[in-house]
């Protein structure tokens, strides 16, 4: 018998993403978001949901671009900080000591110290309720060489992204390798 927990936004895991934007004066800003997911393979798109009250909301609307930067677990306190204060009040790059990198593809900054940055051009947006969903078309992904495997793709054990638990408000790291996708399930296929 399962227990009813109510209409809560519970999903495990959600990613810890840092959204990079420029404000109207050109100041780079970052905010942390977990309401993020890939939403299309072709064109490659990522959905980021933000409240209208955030500084980032206006920045994306005017610049039509943003980055989704993935902090490694070494930067958990920075990512947490980026979700606690507003770019209206603070220069978060200056306060945290991290470094904005100008994207050559989109009008948005990347975080130099984070292993992965996804460069997005605003594709569309949808007002859902408290949150507005921004769909970004992924123009490129930039990655530190140190997080790439032999196949040239990032390895999650080298990226060391952070997992966020909604409601419980906890961060966890990545755990053990379980198996290969599109392979583990073969034993259940009768036609295999």
């Amino acid at each position: 018998m399962k227990k009813s927990l109510g209409n809560k936004t519970l999903l495990y895991p959600t990613p810890v993403c840092v959204i990079g934007t420029y404000d109207s004066s050109g100041k780079p800003n970052v905010m942390t978001a977990a309401w993020v997911g890939i939403c299309c393979s072709s064109p490659p798109c990522i959905a980021v949901s933000l409240r209208k009250a955030t500084y980032t909301y206006g920045n994306i609307m005017s610049r039509k671009a943003f980055s989704v930067c993935l902090p490694s677990e070494n930067y958990a306190r920075h990512a947490d900080y980026f979700g606690m204060v507003s770019g209206k009040d603070v220069d978060k790059f200056a306060a945290s000591g991290l470094t904005p990198l100008k994207s050559e593809l989109v009008d948005a900054p990347l975080v130099k110290e984070f292993p992965i940055a996804i460069e997005c051009r605003l594709h569309s947006f949808l007002e859902i309720g408290l949150h507005t969903e921004f769909i970004g078309e992924i123009l490129d992904v930039k990655a530190d060489e140190s997080c790439l495997g032999a196949d040239g793709l990032p390895e999650i054990e080298k990226v060391l992204p952070i997992l966020f638990s909604p409601e419980g408000r906890r961060y966890n790291g990545v755990g053990r390798f379980i198996g290969r996708a599109f392979s583990l399930g073969r034993e259940l296929r009768k036609d295999a």
Copy 2:
């Protein structure tokens, strides 16, 4: 210097979600999706992106409902299998030995053996490209008692959800506790 990887759908982590629906004959079906994320807090909504070619696509369109069930890592091979074959050809519940539970709230089945099930009524959908994004309003979350902590909320270390690495096609488990959100970053606040 970061390396350009091209316009790939790389995000770490993405969740392994099993989408439950009924077909036109009332047969329960499940398919695995990783292009999933929370997209609004109020109303609580979750976005699930699927290809039009999937059996689930038609089921959601006609039933206006779906569940998002989270397998624990013990069920990684079942979740992988659910992403390998189509409900057009196979009764995946029967083939896998797992048990469909009828939701009392929405016209969709839940997976009894999985610790968490999110019951969704179709809120809206958006054709993006290869994928259509279905936005589900979360009407309730059902959880096994065994995955709840002292505060009555799920604990990720008890849920043991699966992480999917896009492109690399790997599954990982949840790792160590890093820290509390809205807390770790306090030391960087000058005004704290």
